[in-house]
Amino acid sequence: MPDRPQSALVTMPNIPDPDGFYSELIALHDGRSAQDSAALNARLILLLANHIGDRDVLRAAMEAAADSGHAR
C-alpha cells in the first residue's frame, strides 16, 4: 500500500467485491418510497461518519461528494 497521510480520504478502490457491495446497497432500498430511502441514506451517512470519526476525512469526503456532482 502506498504511503499516505493518516487522515487522507481514500479515493482509490478499497471495497472487496465491488459488484456485491453495490447490489446490497441497491437492495437495501427495494420497495421504499423516495422519502423513506432518503431517510435511510441519512441514517447510513451518520453511522458511517461515526465509524470514520476523523473530522478531516469527513470534511474531505463532503468536499469530494459536493465537487463530483452535476446539478440536474
Binding site: 431517510a39 441519512a42 441514517r43 451518520l46 453511522l47 461515526n50
Partner: protein, 537 residues
C-alpha cells in the same frame, strides 16, 4: 406617561424623590446604570461592593412577573457567591440531573448529567427570574446598610443621552417630571430592546428566527411529576412542534410549546386555548392552575462593539441569543463580572481606559460563542429545510438504538463560561503539562482545599495562588492577595491546576479568570503579567 409596561412581581424600589431632582445644575455620578434586570443589579452590587458610587435607574419599581430566565448555571452562581448572594438562590432553586428526550410518542433516550465532584455550587439551578433579582436586591440592601454607595431609583426613565468629552449627560423622566443627571460612565443593561442603544443610533445585527414559542407556567394540583427535564421533538400530542417541560420551585412547571411563526398572539394566549395544548400534552385528567403565560420570538444578534466612549453595554442590550442553552442571563452576569473590576480599576486610576476595550474584546468573543451554540440548537430543534429535518429525525431514530448518535441530539447546550483565549490581558502559560482547563483566559475551576473551596479563597481582587510553593520574595508588595495552598496530584485541586507538575503559581484576575501561570516565576515575570492584565501593556 410612565405607565408600567409589564406587571411587577415585587415592588422593591418604589419611586422616591431624589435631591438630584432639585439641584440647580445636573449632579454628576461616577457610574449610572440603566436597567434593573439581573445584569444591571449585578453591576450595581459588584461596583458598590468595590466602593464605586453607582446610581441605577429603572423605569419600573421592581422585578417584573414571569419566570423568564429560568436556568442559572454554575458560573453565575459562583459570581453570585463572590457577591454574597448565592446561598439563598441555591437553597430555593431546583436542581435536576435527569433529562429525557422524546420523539413523537417514543422515549429516545435519557441522560444523567452527573455533575463533576469537588465544586461548591451545582451545575445549575432552576429559579424564576424575579426570585433571582429579589435575592440580588436583598443583598444590595444589606450592602447599603454596611455603607456600600449604591442607589436604586424606580420609575426613573432615561429619555435622552448625550456623550460629553469626559462623560455622559442624561435626561430622566419621573412621575414628578424630568430632571438632568451626568455620569462619568454609563452601563446600558436595558435589555434586548435597549432604548439606550436606540437613542445612540447603534446597530444590532443578526438573524431572526421565524418561530414563536408559548410558555405556560403551571402549578400541578395532585400530580407529582418528577424533577426532570423532558424534551419532545414533534410530539404526537401535536400541542407544539417541540415541547419542553421543566421544573421550578413551589411545584410549578414550565411548559414551552413551539407554535410556528404565523400565530394570533391574543388568540393563542386565551386561557381555553392554552389549556387545550396543555391537556393534549398532560392528558385531560391532570389538574393544574395557570400561573403565567407568554409568547416569545427570538433573534440571535449582537452589537459590533460593546463600548462606545463612556457608554458600555452589558447583557441582552449588547447581545441576544435564543433561549436554548440558558445563555441569556448567564452570559449577562458574566458581562457584569468581566466589566465591573475593570471599570472600578479605571475609575480608581489604577488602569488605563484601554482596559475597558478588553471588556468589549473578551465579551464579544463570548457572545459569538453563545450565538453559535444557541443557533445550532435552534437549527436542530426547528430544522429550516427538508433535508435538515430528515437528518434531524435520522439522528433521533439512531439515538434510540445507538449511543453514538446521542451527542448529536441538540435540545440546548447548557451555558458554560467563556475562556478568553486570545485576550490581550493573558500572560505566559509556563507550566508544562498543566491542564488545559486552567490555561490563561479560563475561568478558575472550583476545587476543595483544606481551608474551604478555592473560589471562596480567591475573593474578588488580583490574587497570586501558590500551589505547593511560595511566591518570590517581594511579590506580596505588588498589591495582589496571596493564597498558599497545598495539594496532592490525586486531589481535585492538583488535577485541575497542576496536572503532571509538582508546583505552580497562578496569577488570577478579580473576575477569577486565570491571567498567567508559571512553574517558578521571578518577581519581574509576575509584575509584568500583572501590568498586562491591567491593560497597561
Amino acid at each position: 406617561m410612565l405607565d408600567d409596561r409589564y406587571p411587577l412581581e415585587y415592588r422593591l424600589y418604589p419611586y422616591a424623590r431624589s435631591t438630584d431632582q432639585d439641584a440647580a445644575t445636573p449632579v454628576r455620578h461616577p457610574v449610572v446604570i440603566m436597567g434593573g434586570g439581573p445584569v444591571g443589579l449585578a453591576c450595581a452590587l459588584d461596583l458598590g461592593l468595590k466602593n464605586v458610587p453607582v446610581v441605577l435607574l429603572d423605569d419600573h419599581e421592581g422585578p417584573g412577573q414571569g419566570s423568564r430566565a429560568l436556568c442559572f448555571a454554575k458560573r453565575t452562581l459562583e459570581i453570585a457567591n463572590r457577591l454574597g448572594c448565592a446561598g439563598p438562590m441555591v437553597a430555593r432553586g431546583v436542581v435536576w440531573n435527569l433529562g429525557k428526550v422524546f420523539h413523537e410518542d417514543r422515549k429516545v433516550y435519557e441522560f444523567n448529567l452527573l455533575p463533576e465532584d469537588g465544586h461548591e455550587l451545582p451545575a445549575f439551578i432552576n429559579l424564576q427570574q424575579p426570585e433571582f433579582e429579589r435575592f440580588v436586591i436583598d443583598r444590595i440592601r444589606a450592602a447599603q446598610s454596611a455603607g456600600a454607595p449604591i442607589t436604586l431609583r424606580g420609575k426613573n426613565r432615561v429619555e435622552a443621552v448625550q456623550q460629553l468629552p469626559d462623560g455622559v449627560a442624561l435626561e430622566v423622566l419621573t412621575p414628578e417630571g424630568p430632571y438632568k443627571l451626568e455620569a462619568d460612565w454609563v452601563i446600558g443593561c436595558d435589555g434586548a430592546g435597549s432604548p439606550l442603544r436606540k437613542m445612540m443610533g447603534l446597530g444590532f445585527e443578526g438573524r431572526v428566527f421565524e418561530d414563536s414559542f408559548l410558555i405556560a407556567d403551571i402549578r400541578m394540583k395532585n400530580e407529582s411529576f418528577p424533577t426532570e427535564r423532558w424534551f419532545w421533538f414533534e410530539p404526537s400530542h401535536k400541542a407544539g412542534a417541540s415541547t419542553l417541560l421543566h421544573k421550578q420551585p413551589d411545584g410549578v412547571w414550565r411548559v414551552d410549546f413551539q407554535i410556528g411563526w404565523d400565530v394570533d398572539r391574543t388568540e393563542e394566549l386565551k386561557e381555553p386555548n392554552v389549556r387545550k395544548r396543555l391537556d393534549a400534552m398532560l392528558g385531560a385528567d391532570v389538574e393544574y392552575d395557570l400561573v403565567w403565560t407568554s409568547i416569545y420570538t427570538f433573534q440571535c444578534r449582537r452589537m459590533t462593539d460593546f463600548r462606545h466612549g463612556r457608554v458600555l453595554f452589558a447583557g441582552d442590550s449588547a447581545h441576544q441569543v435564543s433561549p436554548f442553552g440558558a445563555r441569556g442571563a448567564n452570559s449577562g452576569i458574566q458581562d457584569a463580572d468581566n466589566l465591573c473590576w475593570k471599570l472600578a480599576a479605571v475609575i480608581a486610576g489604577e488602569a488605563p481606559e484601554a482596559l475597558l476595550d478588553s471588556y468589549s474584546f473578551e465579551r464579544q468573543a463570548a457572545a459569538d460563542e453563545n450565538i453559535l451554540n444557541s443557533t445550532r440548537s435552534t437549527d436542530f430543534i426547528t430544522p429550516k429545510s427538508e433535508v435538515s429535518h430528515m437528518f434531524r429525525n435520522a439522528v433521533l431514530d439512531l439515538a434510540e438504538h445507538h449511543a453514538f448518535a446521542r451527542p448529536l441530539v441538540n435540545s440546548g447546550r447548557l451555558s458554560t463560561p467563556a475562556t478568553h483565549d486570545d485576550s490581550p490581558l493573558n500572560g505566559p502559560d509556563a507550566v508544562t503539562g498543566a491542564p488545559e482547563r486552567t490555561r490563561p483566559g479560563s475561568p478558575c475551576a472550583d476545587a476543595p482545599g483544606e481551608e474551604g473551596y478555592l473560589l471562596r479563597r480567591l475573593g474578588g481582587m488580583f490574587t497570586l495562588l501558590a500551589l505547593n510553593c511560595k511566591v518570590p520574595s517581594g511579590a506580596d508588595a505588588l498589591g495582589c492577595a496571596v493564597v498558599d495552598m497545598a495539594c496532592s496530584p490525586e486531589g481535585a485541586l492538583g488535577q485541575r491546576y497542576l496536572g503532571t507538575r509538582g508546583q505552580a503559581i497562578y496569577l488570577i484576575r478579580p473576575d477569577q479568570h486565570v491571567a498567567a501561570r508559571w512553574e517558578a516565576p521571578t518577581l519581574s515575570d509576575i509584575s509584568e503579567a500583572l501590568e498586562r492584565a491591567k491593560g497597561k501593556v
